[in-house]
Amino acid sequence: MIAAIGLVIGIVVGIVLHPTVPVYLQPYLPIAVVAALDAVFGGLRAMLDGIFDDRVFIVSFLSNVVVAALIVYLGDQLGVGSQLSTGVVVVLGIRIFSNAAAIRRHLFKA
């Protein structure tokens, strides 16, 4: 629960204040956002499954974002940045869809 509250506080602070993202992080933002979305959906599903855990959520969130950024960085260095980004988006997209489907089953029993 703490993690969810913290996340909401962070989002509100981010909207109210306007901290700038350093320029060198810019290329990794799209993938990082998708990865974060995946972690959020995973956490939501775990919550509905009754097995949510703050520590696991935070660790999965951070590792998702870091790994996604790392893959993009690696791809950029190897010259296959866009292809690797596509791969990451596909995999994360599938996971988001599966989790969204599970959440839907929980909420609507359908």
Partner: protein, 324 residues
Amino acid sequence: MPPAQSRRRPVDASMALLREVMEHPIDPSYALAAARRARGERPGRRGVVLILVLAVLCGLFVTRAVIELRRPEPGQAVGRATLEREITRRSALAERRLAEIQRLRSQIASTAAQQLTASGDAELVTRGQQLGLATGELPVTGPGLEIVLQDAAGLGNAAAVDPRAVATGSDDGRVLDRDLQVVVNGLWVAGAEAVAINGRRLSALSAIRSAGLAILVDFRPLKPPYVVQAIGDPGAMPGRFAADAAGPYLQSLRDNYGVQVAVTSATRLTLPGAGSLALRTAVPKVSSPPGGSSSASASSASAPSASASSASAATSASSPEVTP
């Protein structure tokens, strides 16, 4: 001894990764953590604070990233503004140069006329002027016909203002280059002496074409509405135009496609000169002029006049091709 079942390769072994992704989208650590909790292990106080701080930072970062990504790139806007300024500047420059060209051209024409008048050949001067009018080189004023074509009303304003805007829906009511060609040819047939579209004078070498949705006259795009002005006999031309092929064509455009067409007679129209009619051929005058001098002297006399102006060159060519 393991059963034979497990030694055989699973059918979907090559899709293990996909199956993993599809069937276990949730982090397995959640289940492990739940099991730990079930055994009664609780996280310490420090852990809770750390989690809270990290969660706030994560939310902050994601929000910031989303806001950053949703904002249009500042570099793009700057580049666009620079390009727009450049286009405006260059267009103004081109307009100024065009005015300069027109001024110099009229100066050349008047100088040539003076020269010819000084040489005493008044007939050549009038001939040159007449040909200049007929070929579209010189501006003309006179009574005539004005035809305004406009895209059908349903076509949306954006497309009407900017011919390059992508049209949505049916294109039937749009004025095409073909329509303008038919109208202009109809006007020539009806006896027009000079024709201009949107202030652009047509010569025998003018082209009406289209590029995308824009209609080009002499490779310059036009903006609707399309105003076709023709100078000609105010008594005969409107009737002949209506009776010819172009009249019924316009009628069918109006009736079938909703193209807005307005044909009006004008008592006084002023059409600009097309200018820049390059001298393409010049033939020395071999036939003896009315003065009755020898052919050798005539050719030497006509050489400077041929280079003086294209009109006099057309005179010596003495061919009727210059009529449009």
